[in-house]
Structure formats: C-alpha cells, structure tokens
C-alpha cells in the first residue's frame, strides 16, 4: 500500500490495494500485510504500519473477510491467509498481523488475468474507517489464534483482515507534517473570522504575528521556484521545513508568463509584496500548492482563518515576504 488520492465519490479500494508492496515482497513466500481487526485496534495497527515511514499523512483502510478471499482459491491455488505475528517490540497489536499469500504476479503469467483476480478481491473488500474497524472487533471474540494458525488458514477463515494505506488529504490538515525526515512545525490555529473586508488585514497582521513567534532563522533573500504547473492566482503560504518559519503569500502575479504559468525563476526579497486571488468556492484551509525555496520545498496552504466557509466570490488577498 502506498500514497493514494481518492477523488470525491471515488471507490476504494481497487485491485492495486492487494498487490504486494516491496516490503511484502521482502519475505518468501510473498505476503500482503494485513491486520486481523479483532486482535488490534486501528490505532495500534496504524502505529506499527507507519513506524519508520518518512511521510506521515492521513490513512484509509479496507477490509475483506478471509472466507470470501479464500473463495478465489479455485483460480489461484496459492491463496491463503496466514497468521504472521510481529515481535512484541513492534508495539501492541503486532499479534494481529497476518499475511495474504498468492497475490503476487508470477513471471510468465497473464497480467490481465492477475489484475482480474485482484479486482475481484477488491470488489469483495470494503473501505472502513476506525469506527468500522472497532465495530468489527466487538461481540464475542472467536477462539484465540494459535501458533499453528501461522500455516493453517482455516483458523482465521471467518475473520476480517484489513489493509491500511496512506491516504493524502490535502485540505485542512493542521497537525505537524513530516517532510522528508524532518518535522515541520504545525500551523498555529487562529480564531475564525467572518468573511469581510478585513480579510487582507487579518491575514497580514494576525498571521504574520503568529508566524513571527515561530520564526528564528533569518533568510534575507529567497529564490522562489514554483512547482511545475503551479496554479497561478492562488495564495500560497510557505512553511519552512528547517525548524524556522518562512511565509509568502503568492499568486496572481502580473509577471507570470503569457501562457498563465509562473516564470521559471522569481527572486523574492524580504519586504517584497505579493498578491493573489482566492477563487469563489475556495476555502481557507485548502492546501493549494507548494513552492520551492531554493532547494527546500514547503508545503503551502491557505491559512484556515475562515474555517470551512466558502468565499462568496473571488477575493484578493495580499501580503509580503518577510524573510
């Protein structure tokens, strides 16, 4: 499982969710890592799943009954679900770890038939959230898994096993985000303000004040290289990933190219004023883009000053590069 973006109304999972990852392929026979939902909480499984991963974001999970999965053994005799408990050093819930074997694509086999099998399994799977996970673990617990269940799949044939994937939510995530392996300070949450003529002032004054408290490393001049296909016209807020804050409101630049894209290189000095327009329907809190400051990359978003209130129309905002 890996990074995924699910559009509104999109169905999750598809067959790719059940394709063995590189970590799954590290063991022989290849096992797709899953969790038996009655022996671990979602948070326990999540904690183990995310351990050591560089990028920590939102997650999504899907689950399938083992019995239904094993109904495909007529087509793939290698299919089985085994109990594969993790060492206790990995944390609580490790004994709920299981593996699905037989999902790897054999060399020389038909790709289309393999994907058809994965698609069939995905059709039996359902997307679940933490509440659904917990609900599946309620009721009378079945007999405890024995060590023998490691190779005897009938021992867990009626259980629900779940996969976890990293699910990127690009709006409204305010918790600390890891970029690479460095922790980024979380944005300070400011009081909500009504939509009105004071937006610009609030942004430039309140947000600046909030961010200034966290800034510590002066950077007098920052080359800004917008990401490819950056959406010109949005307002960006840069977040420094080196422990210090850098802010930049950005967008709607008259200096942009005639094709609407940003020029390849822009030098923004401290004190440089920029401006931009939030589109109708846009919400503060929307993460709208990313800028490259020299070699560093900052995730950027419109500050969530307005909560979830959609803007009634295009709104000009402006600010300045302070560092």
């Amino acid at each position: 499982m890996g990074l995924i973006h699910i559009p509104a109304g999109g169905r999750f999972p598809n067959g790719t969710a059940f394709a063995p990852s590189s970590e799954d392929k590290a063991v022989k026979p290849i096992r797709v890592s899953v969790w038996e939902t009655r022996r671990a909480t979602y948070q326990q499984a999540l904690r183990i799943y995310l351990a050591g991963k560089a990028i920590v974001r939102e997650t999504v999970a899907c689950a399938v009954h083992v019995g239904e999965l094993l109904s495909f053994r007529e087509r793939e005799a290698r299919l089985r679900v085994v109990w594969d408990p993790l060492p206790s050093s990995r944390g609580h819930g490790g004994d709920a770890h299981c593996g699905i074997e037989g999902l790897d694509h054999l060399p020389g086999g038909s790709r289309k038939e393999h994907k058809k099998l994965l698609d069939d399994i995905a059709q039996r799977a359902v997307r679940i959230d933490e509440a659904a996970w917990q609900a599946s673990g309620q009721g009378t617990p079945g007999p405890s898994l024995s060590v023998e269940a490691r190779s005897a799949h009938p021992g867990i044939s009626r259980r629900l096993v779940a996969l976890i994937s990293v699910f990127v939510v690009l709006a409204g995530v305010l918790a600390g985000i890891e970029i690479g392996r460095r922790q980024v300070n979380p944005l300070r949450v400011l009081p909500a303000a009504s939509v009105g003529s004071q937006i610009e002032r609030r942004i430039t004054e309140e947000l600046s004040a909030a961010l200034d408290e966290s800034e510590s490393v002066p950077q007098p001049s920052l080359p800004i290289v917008p990401a490819a296909n950056a959406r010109v016209g949005f307002v960006y807020l840069g977040i420094c990933d080196g422990g210090a804050w850098t802010k930049a409101y950005f967008g709607g630049l008259p200096a942009c190219g005639s094709d609407g894209t940003l020029p390849a290189n822009i030098t923004a000095r401290r004190g440089t004023k920029v401006r931009g327009t939030l589109p109708a329907g846009g919400k503060f809190g929307d993460e709208v883009g990313r800028l490259r400051f020299g070699e560093a990359v900052r995730l950027v978003r419109i500050h969530p000053m307005l909560g979830d209130l959609p803007l009634p129309g295009p709104k000009v905002v402006w600010g300045e590069i302070s560092r």
Binding site: G2, P20, S21, R111, V232, G252, L253, N265, P279, A280
Partner: protein
C-alpha cells in the same frame, strides 16, 4: 531570467489572465470562476501529484510530469466529462490512474520512463483488455475507446 515580484495593487482583469490554469485553460478557468464552481477537486488532485515529488515525496518531478502530460492528452481527447482518477503509487513504482463506474474499470500505470501499461475490465460481460507489458509510449486508441465508457 530573474523576475522581481511586483508591488501589490488592486485587483484587475489581468488577475484572471494570470489565473489561467496550464491544463484547464483560460476559458475553462474563467467560466469556473464566473460560475463559482472552480474545480477545487482538480486543485487538490494536482497538489497531490506535486506532493509525490522529491523531496517531500518519493518520485522524480519528471515522473509526475508524465502523468500531467497524459492527463492533458486525455482531456484533449475526451473532454471534461472524464472524472478525476483515483491516483496511487503501485508497488512497482508506477503512478496509477484508475476509473471505476461499477461496470467498467480502467487503470493506466505510468512508469518513470514514461512507459505505460493499462487494464480494462467489463465486470458485466467479463471482457478484458489492456497490455501485458509496460512498453507503450503513447495512449492507444483502444484505451481511449474504453475510457469513453466511463464518461459522465
């Protein structure tokens, strides 16, 4: 070329020109703005793609660029009735775009070198289509025909 950011001024019509999206195009973007229905979902998807690139993500910008190229071609060929795809990384390092209407399912795997593989399934008739190898370098007409089955 080095550009100096301009001083902030009042909003003017030039803003709309600058808001032209490289993919959506000026007309679409302006229409969306005027109707108040700017496709924020598109924006989020675009940002997701950006987030995949090094160093915040595991991929090279060129790889994501290939995805954007293909999306541009798809929009050019099929128009905006094609929904945004579910997008994910596959275990073998490709970026996968997938569409699922219930009956029809299509996915395209785009590899770092730009090579493609695709898969189609009609869950009602059982028909399968697609590639067995990741050797395509452009979108075949068969794939575009399958995708038309998913237009809204």
């Amino acid at each position: 070329m080095i550009y100096q950011l301009p001083e902030a001024t009042e909003i003017d019509t030039a803003i709309l020109i600058c808001q032209r999206d490289p993919v959506l195009g000026l007309a679409e973007e302006t229409r969306a703005l005027q109707s108040g229905q700017l496709d924020l979902e598109w924006g989020r998807w675009s940002q997701f793609l950006d987030s995949l690139t090094f160093p915040s993500g595991p991929l090279a910008p060129e790889h994501v660029g290939e995805v954007r190229k293909i999306w541009t071609v798809l929009l050019d060929q099929l128009g905006f009735r094609l929904r945004l795809p579910m997008t994910q990384l596959t275990p073998d390092g490709a970026i996968q775009l997938s569409w699922d209407s219930g009956r029809h399912y299509v996915d395209i795997d785009i590899h770092p070198d730009g090579s493609l593989a695709w898969f189609y399934r009609d869950r009602t008739t059982g028909a399968l289509d697609g590639t067995e190898e990741d050797t395509l370098i452009s979108l075949p007409n068969d794939l575009l025909a399958r995708l038309t089955l998913l237009l809204t």
